[in-house]
Amino acid sequence: MNTLMYDTYTIFWRELKRYKKSRSGVLIRLIQPAIWIIVIGNTFSGTQPLIQSVGFQGEYIEFMTPGVIILTAIFTSIFGGVNTLWDRRYGFMNKALTSPISRSAIALGKMSAISLIAAMQASLIIGIALAIGVNFPNPIMIIPIMAIVILFSLGFSGISVMVAATAKSQETFWGVINFLGMPLFMLSPALFPLELLPDWLAIIAKLNPVTYTVLLVRSMMTGVTEGGVPILLSLGILFAFVFVMIGLASYVFTREVNKPF
């Protein structure tokens, strides 16, 4: 167990070191979510009556800011595993595989690094939201919000690491990731209340872990718990999702990297 922690930390350290040194455009990656907040947030401000109809009293931009925080977390973490493909192509993976560290540690180290990076990006989005004047009644809630984002990204990066380990090419990876990312985001209450979805889509959305994460972050940011989902239930679902993803990602990653690339 101790060794697994040490090995996970080794990979985590390496991933962060690479991220830091590659300076891969922290600002560039912020542009897209910033556009979401500024453009969509203002364009859709006229939809306030719709939101009010489900019991949310604030502005639309306050409603969707938690959604954009999660959007950042989703896409940073689901793209984050792509360097697994480079590692396999350029030999780092073989180096790690022929050393005594366990395969799970490689997956977990990557996931924890991705989750921290995603959280850093999300915190910048919170900063942008505050800067453009989004109302944030209780700033101390930033701490639990960040904890939720880290947890959620840890689980979500599992998807990325699994797809990257299974895909043999960049094309497959991006194809699958785009296929997964956008629907998971759209089928959640990130941009509009679940009550506005047709029943059959609402059922799918209720199976989506993104839904509960958005509800959690929104209730922490605005104090409104919509859709009658208790916070504890959302938390429970989030934790369950993360545990399942950690287990599944370790298993799939180990199985896939043992096959010749």
């Binding site: 040490y6 350290w13 390496r14 030999g91 780092f92 022929t98």
Partner: protein, 333 residues
């Protein structure tokens, strides 16, 4: 335990292509063993089995007494592996790369810094250790890679074509380091190469592999001596007595073997100076005109030719293309 590496009937096939075909051999402790063969001969595949990256289709491979199939973890603790491509992280500094390697191999925390200083000195990169690897030359990267493989003092060090793609001076420098490493740490070194000189220069013993099979294993000296200690190359003009010329030559006492390549004849002999007059005698009896004749020491190239029937760079045969194709498909490069 006498052997660092032992294989029994090791076989690996990819679909219907047999990359490694029933090979059995052993490498002694402390030996530098060279695996010599053309591209696609099965060298890398064998090495990937030894380093637990590939599972053999059948047969057994023991590294330092541990089975690569059932004791993979112990094998990984006993080996260092330097891959054909350089695998250092470009964005990290030289020292950070070694630190990563040290952590991956569970070197005790209090020893890490000393070990890194030690190998940096050995490969003469101490002064550049805090620079990003992006700024390193190809030779420096390779040295760093090799250093990473030694850091945890493995029992067996695997070097997959350590000097491929490097210029001649750098290659000689790397050879120097490999010798130094071997003397200093007394580890077994298993290297694969398709450079004759490299195998000749570094290895205690050489296994020639071609078409997935080991053709011969011996020391470079013995291999060359077994061929006769001298080589006579003759060019003759075409004649109807060519075949009888050949059979007469074979009857000369000191001639061990003859390779025929069109009008060029290569004779492996043990007493060249006495053979040459006899060659002229036979040729004048058969009225065959010799246009040139030379007497040289055999090279490993000659050895390779005599065991495999083709030159080592002769990659264009249909067989090798198919093999290379299978390999590329596997690597998806």
């Amino acid at each position: 335990m006498l052997y660092s590496i032992e294989t029994k009937s090791l076989t690996k096939s990819f679909g219907d292509v047999v990359a490694v075909n029933d090979i059995s051999f052993s490498v002694k402790k402390g030996e530098i063993f060279g695996f010599l063969g053309p591209n696609g001969a099965g060298k890398s595949t064998t090495m990937m089995i030894f380093t637990t990256l590939l599972k053999p289709t059948s047969g057994q491979a023991l590294i330092y007494g541990f089975d690569v199939m059932t004791n993979a973890k112990q094998v990984r603790q006993s080996i260092g592996y330097v891959q054909q491509e350089t695998t250092v992280d470009e964005y990290l500094t030289g020292r950070e790369n070694l630190l990563l390697q040290a952590k991956l191999n569970h070197i005790p925390k209090n020893e890490i810094n000393n070990r890194i200083d030690e190998v940096l000195e050995l490969i003469e990169l101490s002064d550049k250790q805090h620079k990003s690897v992006v700024t390193y030359s190809g030779g420096m990267r390779k040295r760093l890679d090799i250093a990473g493989g030694l850091l945890h003092r493995p029992k067996v060090l695997f070097l997959d074509e350590p000097t491929v793609g490097l210029d001649i001076q750098t290659r000689r420098k790397i050879w120097e380091y490999i010798k130094k490493i071997h003397d200093e740490f007394e580890m077994t070194i298993f290297l694969s190469t398709h450079y004759m000189e490299e195998a000749d220069h570094l290895c205690d013993r050489i296994g020639i592999i071609d078409g997935g099979k080991i053709q011969v294993i011996d020391s470079p000296e013995n291999m060359k001596n077994a061929m006769g200690n001298e080589v006579i190359s003759i060019m003759v003009e075409n004649s109807k007595h060519h075949d009888s010329f050949l059979s007469e030559l074979q009857k000369i006492k000191f001639v061990k073997n003859i390779n025929k390549d069109g009008l060029k004849l290569v004779l492996f002999v043990s007493n060249g100076t006495e053979v040459i007059p006899k060659i002229f005698q036979i040729s004048s009896e058969l009225e065959i005109k010799i246009t040139s004749l030379s007497l040289t020491r055999p090279t490993l190239d000659d050895v390779f030719l005599s065991y495999t029937g083709h030159k080592i760079r002769d990659d264009d045969s249909k067989f090798n293309r198919r093999r290379e194709h299978a390999k590329m498909k596997r690597l998806r490069a």
